[in-house]
Each structure stands twice: as structure tokens, then as C-alpha cells.
Subunit: 205 residues, 2 copies
């Protein structure tokens, strides 16, 4: 019999977060965090906002992040300015959730961040996400050897997901089912692995 | 008989850059760029400084970057502030060399950026470099499908190098010889490959 966990989902009002929250709340205490909706709100591009979030939630067993804004647009318009959207959002936003959240996570707790197939399988217009993903994956492997009290950290790296058909034409990939996505996050939250990038999709290699 | 290339080396006064400049100038026109020394100076954390550099060098056939400052220090002191050293340096610095440099590179030219084994093989105190490397590698794969006029881009990812013995105790790895490092860069600059991470070292996998 599994112990009930306190699970914070940042991005809980998005397509992935909503599905995961519904799946996990059957057996666990889920705290939904969104930009404007959810039980609590956070702006992950602000360290102050992240700090205030954890002061409100208190200690937790697992943090899942499915939020990661990046710049999507034509390469010819991509300058330092546009590139910083993913740097502040998907990259530093998620890294700061860990750097700050480590002071609130319970022993044997876990962090699960979101990356994506774009790390290895680029798509036209999505270079900013490829870079942000790569950074988060490098960070996850490094944080795994630094975090204390048996705290674990992984990334889940899906490709386009079946509940986001608006992206199918861009990715031309085999969509990840919501159930596969859920199993990817379950592996991170309830497994014993750390420092891993969990890929619930078929790689073209 | 190979055509003579105009090769810009950013980081030319560092350990790697000095070696590569000496090796390549036997057959090519090498422009040495440093922070304070070299033929020209650049601060890669400033887009204005990068733009001025290319205005002075004019068009080129290959840009090699061996410069990439990151934060090295204990995890417990690592906050958003320290983490940004690698974000501005090794990550955005190198990405901006490409985003700006693409307007100055000759057709069939190339960019070669520097990452390192830390992307996949973390070392205590070097999480910032792991993240910066991962971002640059993701960017390289994405930029390869965006760059036009047959311009190529790769990263060279060495582990600790033989001419930097001061790092041996931290890395506990099989050092890359300077000659292996040179061959790694040669593969990128003079080969036909693009979007690759060239690893002149033995991986523990």
C-alpha cells in the first residue's frame, strides 16, 4: 500500500497538468498551481513569486512542472531578445523551482521537470525550446548528484502529445498518448531513479 | 589542395584557443579574438560588442568559439544570481555569436561552439556548466536545420584537457590530448557534418 504523497503540479491548468492532476488526485494530495488559475498562482520567471508559492504550500513530497514558455517563431526574426523568452521561462523558471524548492521538499521527495523531444529532434521555428530543453536536461543530471536527503530529480521528455493536435502539423511525429505521458511522470515521482531524462516516445535513431 | 580559410577564434588567448590558433595558422588565416588580448577584443555577454567585432573582422569562413565562462562553486550557494553567469557567458554568449555572426559568415562557412562532457557526466560544483552545455548542444542541433547558404554548425565537447592539469582532481577523467582536441575542431571546420556534438573522449556508458 502506497503512502499518500503531497504533490505540487506547476502548470496544472495546462493540457498536461490538468490530465496529471486528475490522474494523481485519486490517490494523492494534489496542489494545482497555475499562472492565473489553480489553488495557488506563480510566475516562474520571478524568484520572489516562486519563494512566495512555497511559503504558501509548505513542504511537499513531489513537485511536477509542466510549464515552460519558449519563443516559437521564424529563425530570421530570432535575436537575443526573443531567445530570452525560453531562457527566463522553461529554463530558469524550472531551475529556480528546484534551487528554491529544495529548501521545502521533504526527504526522499522528488522534482520532475518538463523538456521534450526537441532537445534531440529539432523542428523549424522551435530552436529556443531545443536550447531550453538541453539546459534543463543537463541541469537535471547535475542536480541529481548535488541534492541531499535522498531527494531525486528527473525530466520527462515527451514529443507532441495527443491532446494537443494543433501541434501535429509542425512536429510530424508519433504523438505521445496521455496515458504514456502519465506513466512517464509516474516513473519519476514513484520510482527510485534520479538524474534521468524519461522519454515516453519512439526515437528516430 | 585545400583552399585557405579565414578562421576567427573567439577565446584565442585561452589554453584551447592558443593551441588551435597555432595549429590552424600554418595553412589558414587565423584571426585571434580575446577578452583583452588577441587581434580583436570582444565581450561575448554583450550583443553590441559582438556586432562591433564582426564589423571589424568582416566576412569569414569559420568561427570557432572556445570561450565560455560559467559559475563553478558549491551547490548550497547556487541561486538564480550565480546561475546566470553561465547563462550570459557560455550559453547566450555563444548563441549570440551565431545569431549575429550568421549575417557575416560566407556561404558554406561554419560555426564551431564549445560544450563539454559535463552535459552528460556531471561533476560536483559544475551544475551551471552542465546546463549551459546542454543548451548549446540543443541549439546546435536546431540551428543546423535553420541556417541557410550551406552554413554548418557543430559543437566540440571535450572532457578535461591535458594542458589544464589544475582541473584533473575535479574531473577524475581520462584527459583529452591537445591533438585529439585539434582533430575534433578540424572535423567540424573542414568536414561536411552539421548539427553534431563532436566528442573527442571516451564516454563512460
Amino acid at each position: 500500500m502506497k503512502a499518500k504523497k503531497k504533490i505540487i503540479i506547476v502548470g496544472a491548468t495546462g493540457t498536461m497538468g490538468k490530465y496529471l492532476a486528475a490522474a494523481f488526485e485519486k490517490e494523492h494530495d494534489v496542489i494545482r498551481v497555475g499562472t492565473t488559475g489553480g489553488d495557488f498562482q506563480v510566475d516562474i520567471t520571478s524568484t520572489g513569486s516562486i519563494e512566495r508559492l512555497f511559503q504558501k504550500t509548505g513542504s511537499f513530497d513531489a513537485l511536477i512542472c509542466t510549464a515552460g514558455p519558449t519563443y516559437v517563431g521564424p529563425w530570421k526574426n530570432m535575436t537575443d531578445k526573443e531567445f530570452r523568452k525560453g531562457l527566463e521561462g522553461k529554463l530558469m523558471g524550472q531551475i529556480n523551482l528546484v534551487l528554491i524548492g529544495q529548501h521545502y521538499v521533504n526527504p526522499k521527495g522528488s522534482f520532475t521537470l518538463i523538456t521534450g523531444a526537441l532537445t534531440y529532434e529539432p523542428v523549424i521555428n522551435f530552436a529556443n525550446a531545443s536550447a531550453a530543453n538541453g539546459a534543463v536536461e543537463g541541469f537535471v543530471r547535475a542536480a541529481a548528484i548535488e541534492l541531499e536527503n535522498d531527494v531525486r530529480i528527473n525530466a520527462v521528455s515527451p514529443t507532441v502529445i495527443e491532446n494537443s493536435p494543433q501541434y501535429f502539423p509542425f512536429f510530424q511525429d508519433i504523438p505521445v498518448t496521455m496515458k504514456q505521458l502519465e506513466y512517464g511522470f509516474r516513473k519519476s515521482v514513484f520510482g527510485a531513479n534520479t538524474g534521468q531524462v524519461i522519454k515516453p516516445y519512439w526515437e528516430s535513431r
